[in-house]
Each structure stands twice: as structure tokens, then as C-alpha cells.
Symmetry: C2
Subunit: 349 residues, 2 copies
DNA sequence: CATGAACGAGTGAGCGCTAACATCCAGGGG
DNA sequence: CCCCTGGATGTTAGCGCTCACTCGTTCATG
């Protein structure tokens, strides 16, 4: 900073006092205009606005944050992935937040472990973020969250549905039920499941929903194929499934797994949906163009994002923390990958 | 703010002066320790660090920004999409920036028009962002960029390769050449192209590279199928292509288009790569699990992101603006969707 | 033993804004 | 005709930090 030479300030951005001088008012009146304070005469308001326009003045957010102790900043902690769900969520959240005048700062973590999450949250607290969203799809992430001081609103997305804390998530169980029910209704004796990573809540929820539906229907619960979320692991699981003639219906934990399964079936000469029916989860934009078009479960990420923002905003404006819990119910999108079981492969009833 | 009651300050976050008091030094010494200034005695440094630890002190970024006039904030303007390329880029950039101690603030725009981009950039300038990245894949976005005042480093990603301004992008032409060449080398008389949206630089570059390669090889340049980036439009284009027996090789402007084409071919009973060979662009994670596995061009988004950050950092540390231009060359990933043309469908040579 | 770098540390001002309080002025009731 | 009320505006202090400068020691040098 140069405090000796006034000419050094010549090229700096105009500040509130500059506007005030030009408009012939005090800087405080400028502040009042900017913050839409009621007690300003219309004529004064106009003069100030004109001066702002003329100078190209832009308020300095850092100064405002310093003075108020509050920022207009929302922090997001996300993992470093391009998985469809998290990406969509993030984009939707950023858009929604921008519409409400908030800045969104994203911190990616390479792995979803306790210390990474904690560090990322700490980073946002250092920025004096007004609220923090953590995409916490695994137990470790969620545990880290439990330790965060409560002086700033925090909401988990895709977090542990059991934990009593602000949370917005998709009703994985309901989605899985929809999928499983749909396959059962098509006449299949039972439904096989290729699951996502065991430590993901999403995967666990889908597994649970599938299993419960089967049990309720009195259907046999076949062993579960473990996979990560990738098409590669779906393919591997699909290869196993393809050589078992009793497999006529598969519920994949997401669309990419389903894609891998579809390819495995195709390679092994088992037709979908002729021999095997497949249902996915996520409704990625390409799902309608898989071979065959994939029947899948669609979670509404826009709603998840909007609700997460709403929970945060409620927390910011001083409402009781811990109260915000929203669970979004997904819907089934029927396409061409489901059909009746082949003759002899269906259930008796 | 409460200036009357000192007890009102009891619960506020500890500030530098609190640390200073506890360590028995001045606030300035604390500042020196924090900023790793050399002229601090080791013993003093330790005492300060201990005090920081004890109080759980975290520096207030807003105050620092206000005092220095510089933030550690990097702004990103991106469109509201979950397209694979932009998403990957964004994630990679966020990770790289975090590693260098920067905060990344993302502003999504619904449409890539001039005023939206300008507003988003302005928003970041209001935050006193130290640098701004604009993912500007269309002409309109790029034009908006040209109007941005130059008092803050701005780098375009995926922008107009012709414009003389800081830019990091993938060498689309080179990638398209790789793809086209590969198909020609497999023996195809010519290669058909399904292009992305005409106003995208990426699409234009891929088109150019394809056309040039064909011309250089003395091959006929067939009419171009126009599409957006979606599997849906790839499917529509594929349907057309499938009914033309002379089509034996297709270069799709991205993998999702290729997916749509694959399905169209499959539906129409044309085998890939038996009857028709297909090459995509992007190497989405699922490409290896398409039916058949897709040969495609892989741009290295990590490198693009890292380079973009480097250009910004150079600009921030006061180097000549306008100098940063990096063009990343993609590579070809060979899989199973390319083969020789069917008998009678290849070129004479 | 005088001299002055070089180092370690402190002081004071100011970054641009908002909150609280102070002030001014017009108009209505006693 | 004075006082009170309340709207419009100004004044002041301070948010937490960094910068430029100052001050006091130490220690090598002649």
C-alpha cells in the first residue's frame, strides 16, 4: 500500500466515497441506496445511482464481509469425480445459488476420507462461508461432517439418511423399490442386483430397497454382485450374470453399471430384453440411446439442489439448525430394456 | 456491530491481536509468521504458532483481501451443462487451483450469450477475483470475452483459436486428423462426419481437421451431418447414415454422438465395425463399454486445466498479458469400433 | 572502541464498508 | 409558539489485516 502519494490512488477502483463525492452526499447514503434502505429520498437515490453508473462503481465484497462478519459465500465440498449424479447436483446448486445472489466456492477432494473432508470444510470456514454443502456419499465423509463446529450452517447431500442432521438426499430405497417392483411385475421370478460400492449410502439404500421388495414379494434374494460405479465393473459383473441361465432380470445400481451389463449380455449372446431385462438408476442423458434404451430410475437433481439451498438459507437466516431434512422421491422412466421373462424363465404365478 | 459492549466480542472468532496478546508479541509479528516472512526468530515463531493452535485461530481472508486489494480467488464462468468435457475440465481446474492455495468460485450461466457471460465476469470482478477462467466454447461467449477490461487476468478455455488472447484449448484439428487418418488407413474410401453445433469452436475445429485430412488424401468430402452434442441427435444422424450403403466409416464429433450412431446402426442391422467403422471424440469413461467398444480421441483435460491455471498465475504475478496460449494435442485410443471396410465398400488402393 | 549493516520486532495508518449514534429539519399537537 | 416526533442525512468508530516506517539489538569491520 502506498500511503505517501495520493496520486498512487488515481487508478484504483472507485470506492463508495468517490460515489458519495460525485453525488454530493455522504458515503453512508450511498451505502443506504445500495442496500435498499427505505429512508432515502427518491431524488437522492437517483443522484446516487447516476454517480454509480458514471464511475462504474462496483461494491467491494471483501470490505462488506469484513464489516458485517457475514459473507455471501456458499462453500461446497465435492469429490473429484465426473460421476453423473454429483456433477448434475453441483451444476444445479451453483445455478440456484447464483440466482439468490450467492457466490459458490467449490473445493474438490481427491478422496472422501475424514481428514480431506475436514480440511475442505475448514477451508470454507476460513473464508467465512455463510453456509456449507458437503456431498457426503460415504460413511467416512459423513463422520467427518459430524465433527464440524455448528457455528455455520452445514447441509449434507447424499449423506447418511440415519444421522440426525441437516440432510437432503434422494430416496434411494424408494427408487430401488420402483425398479425391482417393475421387474417383478413384468413376470420375473426374482431380480438380481449389481450394487455400487458398499461404503456409499446411495448403494446401500438401493440394495436395501431391492432386498426388501424381494422379501415382501416372497421372492428369492439372490447373491449380490459387488461393483464400483463404473461401466467396467458392470461389465465384469455382467459377464458372470450372463453365464447363469436363471438370471432373467437385473437391477443395476446405476446406468453406467447397466451399460457394462448390457455389453456383457450382448457379447455373450443374451438378448436384452428378450432373455434378460435390465433396469438402471440415474437416467443419464445417454440412457435412452443405450442398446437397448435403458429403463431406469430418475432422481431429480434440480430439486435436490434447490432443497439443499433452501435448507442452507433457512440456517443462515437464523432458524433452528438440525431441522432441515428433505428426501426426494425418484421416478421410474420406462424404456425398452425390460420385458417378460423368456419361456421357462419366469415365475409360476 | 456492537461498539458499546466489550462482552459482545466474547464469542467472536479470535483475531490476530488475540493471538498476539497470548504470544506476547505484536499483531504484526503474527502476520509475519503467517506469511512466512524470514525475519522472525525461531523461538518467536514457535510461540506464535502455539498461540494460534491454542486459540484455534484462522486468518480472516476478507480482511486480508481488503488490506492487500488482492484476493486468492479464481473465478470460473461455465455453462450449465453436464457435458463430459466441460465437467472434467472444471473438476481438474478446481483441484489444481486448490493445490496452489486458491479458492475457486464457479458461476454458471444458462446460455452462452454475450450478456450472460459479461454479467458472470462482472460478478467475479466484483469479488476482486485474482483471475478469471471462462469456458467459452462458442463465438458469442468469446466475443463477450473480448470486451472484458484487462485489469484482471482472464483466460479462455475452449475459446476461439484465432483470437489473439490468453487461451488454452485442445487441438481439435489435430484430434480430428488422428481420427480421420485412422479410418482412412483402415482402408475406407472416405469418412463421413457427424458434427457438433456449428457455433462451437470445438465442433468447427473437428470439422476442419476432418475435411483437411480428406482433401489431403484426395478422398471425397461427403456432406456433413449437423447435430448437437447429444446421443439423441447422434441417433437421428445415424439413422440417415445407416440407410446409405456407401457409408463405411463415420467420425463423430463426440462420444455421445457416436453412441447414438452405434445404436442407429444396430437397429438398422448394420454391424460395427463389420459394415461401418465409427470413431468418437472425448474418451468418456463409458466409451470402452459401448457396443462395440469405441475407438476415440482423448483430450487430456487435466493438462488443459493445469495449463489454464498456469496462464492465470503468470498473469497474476504480473507477466505480460496476452502471451499465454497453450494448445494441447489429443491422442487416439484404439478400441474395437474400427475395422476394414466390407468387401466392395473400401477404396481401390 | 566507534560505526553501521542487518536483523528482529513494534507502531500507526488505512483498505472500503456497515452499524450505531448524532444531527437537522419539517410539521402537528398542546 | 414551543416541543415533540420521525424521516432524511451526516459522523464516527471499527471490522482484521497488511504496508511502510521506526526503533532497538547484535555483531562484523576497521
Amino acid at each position: 500500500m502506498d500511503h505517501t502519494s495520493p496520486s498512487a490512488r488515481v487508478n484504483r477502483d472507485p470506492a463508495m466515497t468517490d460515489v458519495a463525492r460525485l453525488a454530493g452526499v455522504s458515503h453512508q447514503t450511498v451505502s443506504r441506496v445500495l442496500n435498499e434502505h427505505p429512508n432515502v429520498r427518491e431524488q437522492t437515490r437517483l443522484r446516487v445511482r447516476a454517480a454509480i453508473e458514471q464511475l462504474g462503481y462496483r461494491p467491494n465484497r471483501a470490505a462488506r464481509t469484513l464489516a458485517t462478519g457475514k459473507s455471501q459465500l456458499l462453500g461446497v465440498v465435492a469429490q473429484n469425480s465426473t460421476l453423473y449424479g454429483p456433477s448434475s447436483l453441483l451444476a444445479a446448486f451453483e445455478l440456484a445459488a447464483a440466482a439468490r445472489g450467492f457466490v459458490v466456492s467449490v473445493r474438490r477432494v481427491r478422496v472422501l476420507d475424514r481428514s480431506s473432508i475436514a480440511a475442505a470444510v475448514e477451508h470454507h470456514r476460513e473464508q467465512r462461508a455463510a453456509g456449507i454443502v458437503v456431498i457426503a456419499p460415504t460413511g467416512a465423509a459423513d463422520e467427518a461432517l459430524a465433527e464440524v463446529p455448528t457455528d455455520v450452517p452445514v447441509v449434507a447431500v447424499d449423506g447418511d439418511p440415519e444421522r440426525d442432521a441437516p440432510l437432503v438426499t434422494v430416496d434411494q430405497e424408494a427408487g430401488a423399490r420402483l425398479a425391482t417392483r417393475h421387474l417383478l411385475d413384468a413376470g420375473h421370478a426374482t431380480v438380481w442386483h449389481v450394487s455400487g460400492p458398499a461404503d456409499w449410502f446411495d448403494a446401500a439404500g438401493r440394495l436395501r430397497g431391492w432386498q426388501q421388495t424381494l422379501e415382501e414379494a416372497g421372492a428369492e434374494v439372490p447373491p449380490v454382485g459387488q461393483a464400483d460405479w463404473s461401466a467396467a465393473s458392470g461389465y465384469r459383473a455382467g459377464l458372470m450374470l450372463a453365464r447363469m441361465p436363471e438370471v432373467t432380470a437385473v437391477f443395476a445400481a446405476n446406468d453406467h453399471l447397466a451399460l457394462g451389463i448390457l455389453r456383457a449380455m450382448s457379447e455373450r449372446g443374451r438378448s436384452v430384453p428378450g432373455d434378460v431385462s435390465v433396469v438402471g438408476f440415474d437416467d443419464v442423458p445417454e440412457a435412452a440411446y443405450f442398446i437397448p434404451p435403458l429403463t431406469t430410475v430418475r432422481p431429480d437433481f434440480d430439486t435436490v439442489a434447490t432443497e439443499a439451498l433452501a435448507v442452507l438459507l433457512a440456517g443462515i437466516s437464523g432458524e433452528e439448525p438440525g431441522s432441515g431434512r428433505r428426501v426426494i422421491t425418484p421416478t421410474l422412466v420406462e424404456r425398452a430394456s425390460v420385458g417378460p421373462p423368456p419361456i421357462g424363465g419366469g415365475r409360476s404365478g
